[in-house]
Symmetry: C2
Subunit: 195 residues, 2 copies
DNA sequence: CAATTTTTTGACCACACGGTCAAAGAATAC
DNA sequence: GTATTCTTTGACCGTGTGGTCAAAAAATTG
């Protein structure tokens, strides 16, 4: 019988290909027409198949969107993570900020998806989103032998919000110089951090 | 005949009261269950009337939501505007930041509505949202006889994004000290502005 | 009181949504 | 080749959506 996939089964090559295709299609859809436009019918149509086929590869529409979300997040985390790891501790916050803006500027589809997801209902991951930067900030001060200064949570919050704003503006106006804006932000952050 | 309202007719007292009630109801609905939950049926139910009655007072569901949005924005602008007007030019950006965080912290329903609306589809008002602060920043530097320094658009963007993040965090965790966070932001902003 | 206007109801419509499922079509295995 | 499994289709279902409208109920007017 044409049973639904079980989650732990090894995926065949072609099934994996379909899943990848659907994820990619969904990212494009969300990026260009917003979260609300990512309906089953539109995803299916954009992928050139029918709703039923989509639901053969994913348990639900939410699962498709979640997979797309996870894919984008993985790529972002990998990219930024590499940049942070390559930087000395006291420059890690700056590296984080620069790469975050850089990656999202270079990948507008991913940027739109991240921003769309960020603001979508609920988002209990709000704390998780800011925590990594807060940790970098603590470590940066420690590496310079400074006592814990300004509240890292607040500093991470401010920086994170500013990054979102810069990226959003860049999406709105491709002529906007996000790189220079990121430098201004880095200067403000480091001044506050190492004051 | 029970004709639909024309937009320029003088509203009767009771009609105005109904409109106010519906606006208030909608704000509460959006604040507590998100934009998507503000459907005609739910608005009507929450107000204790039927869908038809809602559409007698407003041309469409979008008109109800738009009125709620406008109401919240008016209150916010009035409050922040007064605080800004009462401050000397070189302290106007700080006043703006403090009152923005203050008002939204004191009025969580309005805050949720503003944030929900901010991120909802399209929002071509993105530039309009940042422009007032940018103007204050330019004026602040001028009032101290300083030449135009760091890009006001970028500074306004960073500050605005940070305000959003602080307010969002405060909504998430009512124990969070938004006031102190706002002070940290003000310090960063003024340092960058008057460097 | 009756006449008129304002407001509300509740049934109804068309449509888009997520999801189900038997049957048909393609691949693959043997 | 046949048998078996994987994949896709397309009709169908239930639900919620925004919106319309004739008729009834309130309120107001004279």
């Amino acid at each position: 019988m044409a049973g639904r996939r079980t989650e732990d089964r090894r995926l065949s090559f072609i099934e994996q290909a379909r899943r990848d295709q659907l994820v990619e299609t969904t990212i494009g859809l969300v990026a260009e027409h917003g979260y609300a436009a990512a309906s089953l019918a539109r995803i299916a149509q954009a992928a050139g198949i029918t709703k039923g086929a989509v639901l053969y590869h994913f348990a639900s529409k939410d699962a498709v969107v979640a997979a797309a979300h996870a894919h984008v997040l993985d790529a972002l985390v990998a990219d930024v993570g590499a940049a942070v790891d390559a930087a000395p501790p006291d420059q890690a916050p700056a590296a984080y900020t620069r790469r975050m803006v850089g990656y999202l500027t270079e990948n507008p589809h991913h940027a739109r998806m991240v921003i769309e997801a960020m603001t979508a209902d609920g988002r209990p991951d709000a704390e998780a989103r800011r925590e990594p930067l807060a940790a970098l900030l603590r470590r940066a001060r420690g590496s310079r032998g400074l006592p814990p200064g300004p509240d890292p949570r607040t500093l991470a919050l401010i920086t994170g919000g500013a990054i979102d704003a810069i990226v959003t503006e860049r999406l709105r106006d491709p002529g906007y110089d996000a790189r220079t804006a990121a430098e201004a932000l880095v200067t403000m952050l480091e001044t506050a951090l190492f004051a």
